[in-house]
Subunit: 333 residues, 2 copies
DNA sequence: CTGAAAGCGCTAACAC
DNA sequence: GTGTTAGCGCTTTCAG
């Protein structure tokens, strides 16, 4: 059926090992013989069998990306995917993608094949949700080099620097002269970034001698708008918002517009988000942009280091956010 | 280094093939022996080597997903990924993801390994951009079962039914009593869906004895808003819009709000989009939702059929959009 | 310069 | 019931 080295050997009148050598640019063969073999290979449409090669070489030439099953949220940020794919491409590695069941739906004890078999040279684990303890144990036992993304671990982990980002977001507004700045977070994920961004924001506020304040914890768009409206209706209403993300900015913006407050003239907003940055009406949000692509890239770099030196655990890497200047911030009126 | 069947054989005092048989629940061995072998396997932490198994079996247990490199747009719709991943999971297949260079950046003639080597049992090709002719040729020559997504081919292809969706979007508005309905499309992708959605819309308009009208072809958010504003400022301004997608709805909505037109009271909008549906202010867009997950699922089903019966080319599959009733449509005032 | 021999980890067929 | 033999496609080593 398929074209093997053996067929090329027969076709070109050479031995199997010779063909292998020539196809891999090894050995000291006459140019004439090389050409003959290469011609046969091309003519027959030869494609090396990766599995056989892996078997022989003892490596797979592939790494796996484990993502959690989350019906709602974006499970695989495209920037990160791009970063990973280009990073792997440079090293001639393939990417295998597997969904990891999260804590809730692990009832039936399903374990993905990637953890029960040996089929990749390393693991990239995008830890956005709650992976069952059992899975984490399995990953440990697997003894395959692993790098975690978006987790908060001492070693072998790549994460965005949310504290720094929170601080810089607040500092941007403080530098413009804002004093009453509130942190709004309507996400309900429980991810550590929620707290970290607040911590950074609060640190900047403290340094400026100002009180920090955090809003959120309300479910449903209507109730979020109502809460935002209450905030903006206060006597000493805030002049600026640090918003956890798009889902938090929307209720705030809608409430503001509804109350006749203009953005950015009457209310400034900095928020966090992925690429590409989003708009509010015709205005680009001033955004602390998650360095997704770079995270993917760095994760691959770390993983390949761990693959070549399996014993060396690596210090985790914090990646700073990009700051994207939009049109949703102005000095307070 | 790693635990092989051979080590289990030594540890349990059995032969290599016997261990293999027992691990694969084959042969007629005594329960006692089975237990002995399984115990050894567990104790040593055995993980079957997938590459060796593939070599022996002549199949890879994996399919590849080819996506195009597009820095801007979402290259891998998450719904589709989910559909593919769950579909493959049911058949115990792995997913390999590869980026395919698009027409423009193929100058250097880079060919991904997935096309030069034999390393998957089939290909899923998400054809959103312009893949170089040379790549398509290579895919043909590869002789590996392939299914195309989002392309418009007679065979071996899964696509959403854009014509039907365009028609249904218009019909929804017509049924509410709208007569002046305009199709707005600010996408610049040149994807066939642009035209197909219009064709469906136009067909519904024609059937109602009304004139179809198409707006778009303008670049930059400001100019789009300006054009939208002009449209809504006309004497016989439209009372409803069928919008190609979020990027087209935004300028329209912004212009409407700015001109004091309320949505949906003064202007109704139906648009096309992925999941989850998006909001305009506090209102969910009435949306024709791309059946991403189902497309992924069906594509896998078709691909596995082609893998088991390689000669049988399959008729392409059109998948109907889901209709999601939002709050952006109302009868004309 | 080239080919014979050996082996990667695994499985199918067939002895005994 | 279990072990022997053979072989998947490929690469490495080494003899000639």
């Amino acid at each position: 059926m398929s074209v093997t080295i053996k067929k090329i050997a027969e076709h070109s009148g050479m031995s199997v090992p010779s063909v292998s050598q020539i196809l891999n640019h090894k050995g000291l063969y006459r140019q004439e013989t090389r050409d003959k073999v290469l011609a046969s290979a091309r003519k027959l449409g030869y494609r090396p069998n990766a599995a056989a090669r892996s078997t022989r070489m003892g490596e797979f030439g592939a790494v796996a990306l484990l993502i959690s099953t989350d019906p709602q949220r974006s499970t695989l940020p495209n920037g990160m995917l791009r970063g990973i794919l280009t990073g792997l491409g440079d090293r001639d590695l393939q990417l295998q993608v597997t969904m990891l069941p999260d804590e809730k739906l692990t009832s039936e004890g399903f374990v993905p094949r990637i953890l029960t078999q040996s089929m990749s040279d390393g693991l990239l684990i995008n830890y956005t949700d709650h992976i069952p303890e059992k899975m984490i144990e399995l990953i440990r036992e697997h003894h395959v080099p692993s790098i975690w993304l978006n987790a908060r671990l001492e070693r072998d982990c790549v994460m965005p620097d949310d504290i720094d980002a929170g601080r810089r977001a607040a500092e941007h507004l403080l530098a413009m002269g804002h004093r009453r700045i509130v942190y709004v977070d309507y996400s309900a994920s429980g991810h550590y970034s929620s707290d970290d961004r607040y911590v950074g924001y609060a640190a900047a506020m403290a340094q400026a001698g100002l009180a920090a304040r955090r809003l959120g914890g309300v479910d449903g768009l209507d109730r979020r708008i109502a809460q935002s409206r209450a905030l903006l209706g206060e006597a000493d209403r805030p002049t600026a918002i640090v918003s956890y993300g798009g889902g938090s900015s929307n209720p705030i913006c809608h409430a503001a517009v509804d109350m006749g407050l203009r953005i950015p003239d009457d209310l400034s907003i900095v928020h966090f988000g992925g690429r590409p940055a989003v708009h509010f009406a015709d205005k680009l949000f001033t955004t602390m942009t998650v360095p997704e692509e770079q995270m993917g890239h760095e994760a691959v770099a770390m993983l390949t280091r761990r693959i070549t030196q399996p014993s060396n655990r690596l210090d985790s890497l914090s990646i700073t956010y990009d700051f994207e200047l939009g049109a949703t911030c102005a000095p307070p009126s």
